[in-house]
Subunit: 432 residues, 2 copies
């Protein structure tokens, strides 16, 4: 048996032996219901875990007043009191490459609970799957990170480089948590974010921004609706027009990393609101949506393209010449991210994936923005997104994760940390 | 000069001489801002006017508790305390036909005030037009009624039949005011409602009902929107499907009274609301709208047709087979109304219109429901809708009325009251 195989087996065995504890930790994190503003309970569990692991702890509430002056601050909130960021550092012995392991603790709202088969925060396990809002996006990934570090510690492997574990808030609302960690000075030679990628390796990530479009109509009595102009009918034209822009933008994407993704950079209309009386022709509709930003363009380029596209909508329907829709950018935004596909961390992750799973990993571009964009573009830390969650279940009712993948990901990441950070001493404790 | 011409001239002269007072009364009523729940101020002005005229007064707050047991009660409110109905009776000398003169005092909300060139309740007069929410729908008509009675009184004409003037609340929200008048026992041999018809005579009126439709989608992350089903996209299909139903329903309308109306019985989508997060595929949309009901169908028939049409939407898109939209009926509804076109009141109004304006009136079907449906179907009082307001400006920003038409309508109605109710003595007081 080769050394690398032996190391792999030791880690694998340790993870196998600690499956119950890992599963229980994930379940507790899901049940903590850490929607925006309610992260404290889940962070307390993280703090407790990091304390047991003996990591150097740093816990702080991001300072909205300071952060809002940063050009990349993108939250509609300004106060984050009671919503701490948590960092735990495993200090290296020196002379190794450092790494940030970043995962967000916030989860999106559960939505219509009638569409869930169980309580949205049950953490119930059925057929090897754990269910609950946030289990896949991305508490499963966070647990993989913690297990990877625990396995290395348990096997008494001393890494040369620092491992900086970050449990951040506000990823779902624009990345204030990761921005706060960058501003606080956390830096490393590379980073991994275990967002739900179905264990695909994402060296590139789609960015995204939120827009709001107001569409005007002209009110009239519903009984003579032909005397008015329905802002609802006009909003359908705007939605169709945006769908044409989506086609054009996506036809330009030739990067092979996107080859299996039906719509690499989608435009999603997430919210609509208009009219105020059933018997009146509606005179105003508000749309809110998200535009995906390609790793090959800047956020400003994407912004300008959408704005100009909407400015030209008069060509679609004359009404818009006299009543042009207005576009606003608001709330969250996520930078696109990109790391060279021949980067050493990509190579290491790929090799260890093969070692653990005996097959080639899929290397793709992510269909959504993550904090990887901020880490790469603002923090200057080359970042890969790779995690155990089920992409299709993120933000969905009945969100779940395959528990096996949480432990397989932990194994791959542990091996990658050893490669990347380097090892001072290797004395594998076979008892685990 | 013939007697009828002489009578016409006397009435015309009196109205001419009292133009300032009539205009001032209308202005005060507009400025009273009598939106739903805020009718008391305007009704106080009506009470003051009726008191000066020496009519027998009846003022009461409709009893929601009692009315809600009535099968035709259609309000979402139950308490009408502080929102009085006002009735004033000009007792006849006996042996004549009675008439109800009904007008609503409530007005729809002003909407986006940015679309108004002036304060929505200014009552400002420019080029013979008075502006303001409710001036056309229908305070101008109400003032025509009051002026018609005042002219008859001033000329010392004693009518044989009773004239029952009703200033009612809640027409815009389903007719609780008129229903309350019916339940209180007010009946007559015929009725006129001076809603804004552009001085067209409407022997038939469209009814209407409010519906709510819920359209389901399936949530997903906006970055992989192709994994979800957008309830907003699906709601567009529902709107288009309803537009097809509108075409079918209108293709059946052959009544010549509808020949100049582009869409005799429209389906209006007045309100849309859906989704809750820009980065999520929306899983629920709510539509609210109004369906016009033809005078040749019952409200139940129209209801069933819309419900069945929505039930069949699975033929348009398979998604609806597994997730059928649900339909609810709520809030207000207005019965359609119909009076024979050869009814004596139609003939009288037509003749007096010709006498005053020296041209043929347009006799049509109304494009909207009024309290005429309630009066005709529930109160069993044959009703004509005929008034001075500008149809196209009802429920619009910058609503206005041509003041001349308020006085011409008053003249036509005064002459019609004399025809219909009969005269005990005619001694025209030429001083007016």
């Amino acid at each position: 048996m080769k050394d690398q195989d032996q190391l792999k087996d030791s880690i694998s065995n340790w993870l196998q032996e600690h499956r119950t504890e890992g599963t229980k930790l994930l379940q507790r994190l899901v049940q903590a219901q850490s929607t925006q503003g309610n992260e404290a309970g889940a962070q307390t569990i993280v703090i407790e875990t990091l304390t047991k692991m003996g990591l150097v702890l740093d816990v702080w509430d991001p300072d909205g007043k300071e952060l809002q002056t940063h050009p990349d601050f993108a939250s509609s909130k300004v106060h984050f009191d009671g919503s701490p960021n948590v960092v735990g550092i495993l200090k290296g012995t020196g002379d190794g490459r450092s790494i940030i392991l970043n995962g967000h603790i916030d989860v999106v709202p559960a939505g219509d609970s009638g569409q869930w088969e169980d309580d949205p925060y049950s953490g119930k396990i059925v057929d090897g799957k754990m269910y609950g809002r946030g289990v896949t996006d991305m508490k499963g990934g966070n647990v993989s990170l913690l297990l990877a570090i625990q396995a290395i510690q348990a096997l008494s492997i001393s890494l040369k480089g620092d491992v900086i574990f970050e449990s951040v808030i506000e990823e779902e609302s624009g990345g204030t948590g990761t921005l706060a960690s960058i501003v606080r000075g956390y830096k490393a030679d590379a980073a991994i974010i275990p967002e739900p990628t179905n264990m695909k390796i994402f060296p590139k990530q789609q960015g995204s921004m939120w827009f709001r479009i107001y569409i005007k109509g002209r009110s009239a009595h519903g009984g003579t609706r032909y005397e008015g102009i329905s802002a609802i009918e006009k909003s359908m034209m705007v939605i169709n027009h945006l769908s044409d822009l989506e086609k054009i933008r996506n036809s330009r994407i030739t990067d092979p990393l996107y080859k299996s993704i039906p719509i690499p950079i989608p435009i999603n209309i997430g919210k609509i609101e208009g009219g105020d009386w059933p018997s009146s022709v509606p005179d105003l509709v508000k749309l809110e949506g998200r535009i995906g930003v390609s790793p090959n363009e800047t956020m400003d380029e994407a912004k300008r393209e959408l704005e100009q596209w909407i400015e030209n909508i008069g060509e679609v329907d004359e009404w818009f010449v006299s009543a042009p829709p207005t576009v606003e950018w608001f709330g969250a935004r996520w930078h696109p991210g990109s790391i060279k596909t021949d980067h050493e961390l990509v190579a290491s992750l790929t090799e260890n994936y093969q070692l653990v799973l005996r097959e080639e990993p899929i290397v793709e571009a992510s269909p959504w923005g993550t904090d990887g964009g901020l880490l790469t573009n603002v923090g200057k830390v080359p970042t890969i997104v790779f995690g155990p969650g089920v992409t299709e279940k993120a933000h969905f009712p009945n969100e779940y994760i395959e528990l096996d993948n949480v432990f397989l990901t932990a194994e791959i990441i542990a091996l990658t940390l050893i490669d990347w950070c380097g090892v001072g001493n290797v004395s594998i404790n076979k008892k685990g």
